[in-house]
């Protein structure tokens, strides 16, 4: 049973339950009302409506799973920082589960804060930026499967989206647009510099990153997640494409804007960078999306280089996938808490002078492997 059939069954059961009411009303009301309710029942019962509702339900399931993971990630990040900094990290709120509830407490605190829009801000842009930022980050997960059975599918066979990897990266790379919008619409010099820095930074990491992805495409001969992962059934791509994996991880840090490369929101120079003017839950959304993007990044690295859901049998595929994603995220958190921040021109130099040649080299290695017929 895969996620689609599970959700379809659930929707089928629910529709039947609710349709009893519509049909009962259709039978007992006068004809001009009754026909209407009968038509509603028929519409709800038609196959295409149920498929649409199923896909919607699948989305809800994926979002819920994602948000639980994000809460775990925030907790891991704080605990990691505590271990690195020689203190405990959060432990008061939810004492028996290692302070896990601290995230929820912070969420409640952010929810009850007043949302302030600066008087001279561009109101629409200011409102849209968090929406685009959160939306694009969540949408990037739409095609990422936790296992072949645990993914958003559109038919009972559970086939994944054909070019899912491409779609994910395309949507994932939309964030600098939202950052630029937030930086511009806040009408503040710090946010403006932060937004423009984000746009400049994107130039440096996006190309090497996509070249590494291209090498994975070359090795696996597929653009979809199941093709890429199944091609790693013998050996993870992280081993033959070790250079590419490292370049990908470095670019990933820049993509999710964590500390060595969190130049757009450099706290000590630009106050809070592009999020300076945001407060309350809008800032909370940015904060959450920071970790959400960490999760997406970890999931992408897992699927492309670490063999996705493949692993020894007794542990199910989705759990393997999450374990690997958590490991990748832990490495990111480790880097975040132990490295200083680089400068904007230094990341451009790093991107163009170091990472790009390495990525091209990695592509050549992948092509060589493919030509030799080893993969």
């Amino acid at each position: 049973m895969n996620l689609f059939t599970f959700c379809f069954g659930l929707i089928h059961w629910l529709t039947d339950l609710i349709n009893n009411i519509w049909y009962w009303l259709g039978d007992h009301l006068p004809w001009y009302f009754g026909d209407f309710f009968t038509a509603v029942g028929d519409f709800a019962r038609s196959h295409s409506t149920m498929v649409v509702m199923t896909i919607f339900l699948e989305g809800v399931v994926i979002v819920v799973v994602t948000l639980i993971n994000v809460l775990n990630f925030i907790w891991i990040d704080r605990k990691m920082s505590g271990r690195i900094f020689d203190f405990y990290g959060p432990y008061y709120v939810g004492y028996r589960i290692g302070g896990w509830l601290q995230n929820l407490a912070d969420g409640v605190k952010l929810f009850v804060k007043e949302i302030i829009t600066p008087a001279k801000a561009d109101k629409i842009g200011f409102l849209l930026a968090p929406v685009i930022f959160v939306g694009s980050s969540l949408l990037a997960l739409a095609t990422v499967p936790l296992s072949p059975d645990f993914a958003i599918a559109t038919n009972p066979s559970g086939a994944l989206v054909p070019a899912g990897v491409l779609f994910s990266f395309a949507i994932f790379a939309m964030a600098p647009f939202a950052i630029l919008l937030a930086g511009w619409s806040s009408n503040n010099k710090y946010t403006l510099i932060g937004g423009l820095r984000s746009a400049a930074q994107m130039m440096s990491y996006e190309i090497p990153m996509l070249l590494c992805v291209a090498s994975v495409f070359l090795m696996s001969g597929s653009l979809s997640f199941d093709g890429v992962v199944n091609a790693q059934s013998n050996i993870w791509f992280a081993i033959p494409l070790a250079i590419g994996f490292i370049v990908f991880l470095v670019c990933l840090v820049a993509e999710v804007e964590r500390t060595p490369f969190d130049i757009p929101e450099a706290e000590s120079e630009l106050v809070e960078g592009w999020t300076t003017e945001y407060g309350g839950m809008r800032f909370g959304l940015f904060m959450m999306t920071d970790y959400l993007r960490g999760y997406v990044g970890g999931a992408l690295a897992t699927a492309l280089f670490l063999g996705g859901w493949l692993g020894p049998e007794p542990i199910p595929g989705p759990i393997w996938f999450l374990i690997k994603a958590y490991v990748v995220f832990t490495v990111l958190a480790w880097m975040k808490w132990s490295l200083p921040r680089v400068r904007i021109d230094q990341i451009l130099q790093l991107g163009w002078k170091r990472l790009l040649p390495l990525a091209v080299l990695n592509l050549l290695i992948a092509a060589a492997f493919k030509t030799m017929g080893w993969f």
Partner: protein, 360 residues
């Protein structure tokens, strides 16, 4: 992008206090800058004219929250010069122990603030954690934690506490272990070196002409340390070497401070070995004669100087404070020119701002 002025301050993570650095940027490059001070002006110099000599000691402590004992020591030096008092030798040793511990604590606080300026939060916690060791020692010695009120005109308030030598040696052992660790963390980190090398170059001539003192001057290749060049207290009897570096950049200033911490550990060990028995304080007269007194010390941040004019009463007629950072900040437009916005925090952080003494 057209050029624009950005205010970094008064409320800004870069400032470490309350001051304003206005920078003019062309894109990310700084074309002009202008420090604005005075947000924390408390009128200390005027306040001192209405206090008796003894009452000024705690006020002098409040000059700098990072190295308060240095300033009260400096004030006592100036007044002793005015009154013509010779301090007992044991008191001088206790003072040197205290100010060298304060120097380590101050440099560690600088290291913590500097790390967080560069975005490295681990450094913040490590620096503050290790500073606590020396704060505890000073608390043991004087009874309070941040503003000690420990030196007196004619000595120090108390003799050393019990087991102080053992604790201080232990702290020095701990610190030297940690300093090795810091050198692994910072000097071996290529990101840290990228942010520091060739950033904030302050040429030797510029540093001398602008009157910059302390680690910033020694980082510019000038071997000038008041402890050696104009010795006060018992520094001539101690064997140490002022540390300097010729690179003139942020890394050099960082390096000078780290080396100074090594030197301070050495001085503490030596002073503990040489400390004589005897009185820790002599009684000073309540009133000062007519005349002037001057004290100059090597503060952790540079050269501090206090000039006292006495008029025969028990209050100073005038008291002038020379703050090292007030003068170092005036070098900011010269150093900052041509660097990026992100370098502002590195450069101003490497000067080690302390607004208490700057605005007075």
């Amino acid at each position: 992008m057209a050029e624009m002025w950005i205010s970094m301050g008064p409320q800004h993570p870069m400032t470490h206090g309350l001051w304003n650095l206005r920078i003019k940027v062309d894109g990310e490059t700084i074309t002009d800058s202008e420090p604005e001070l005075g947000y924390l002006h408390r009128g200390i110099e005027k306040l001192c004219e209405n206090r008796t000599y003894t009452q000024i000691i705690p006020i002098a402590d409040r000059l700098c929250y990072g190295s308060s004992i240095t300033w009260s020591h400096l004030y006592c030096l100036a007044v002793e010069d005015l009154m013509g008092i010779q301090v007992p030798e044991r008191a001088e040793y206790i003072r040197v122990l205290a100010i060298e511990m304060q120097r380590i604590a101050s440099h560690l606080m600088w290291l913590a603030a500097y790390s967080v300026d560069l975005g490295m939060y681990a450094g913040l916690v490590y620096g503050m954690r290790d500073r606590e060791v020396f704060i505890d020692l000073l608390m043991n010695m004087s009874g309070s934690r941040l503003t000690y009120n420990f030196p007196r005109i004619g000595g120090v308030a108390h003799d050393l506490p019990q087991n102080f030598e053992r604790d201080a040696l232990r702290a020095c052992d701990y610190m030297e272990k940690r300093l090795k660790e810091y050198e692994d963390i910072y000097d071996h980190s290529s990101v840290f070196m990228m942010r520091n090398q060739d950033i904030g170059v302050l040429k030797m001539e510029d540093a001398i002409n602008l009157g910059v003192t302390g680690p910033a001057l020694r980082g510019s290749g000038v071997k000038y340390d008041l402890r050696k060049d104009m010795p006060y207290s018992i520094y001539p009897e101690l064997d140490f070497e002022p540390r300097w570096h010729r690179d003139c950049d942020c890394y050099a200033r960082y390096r000078v401070r780290m080396d100074e911490m090594w030197e301070s550990c050495k001085i503490i060990r030596e002073a503990l070995k040489k400390i004589p028995k005897g009185k820790h304080r002599i009684l000073a007269p309540r009133t000062a004669p007519e005349g002037t007194g001057i004290g100059r010390v090597e503060d952790p941040r540079g050269e501090g100087m206090i000039y006292v004019v006495g008029d025969g009463s028990d209050r100073p007629y005038r008291l002038k404070i020379r703050s090292p950072i007030f003068i170092s900040v005036s070098a900011a437009p010269k150093i900052l020119l041509g660097y990026k916005v992100a370098d502002v925090v590195a450069i101003m952080g490497s000067l080690d701002m302390c607004i208490g003494e700057t605005d007075r």
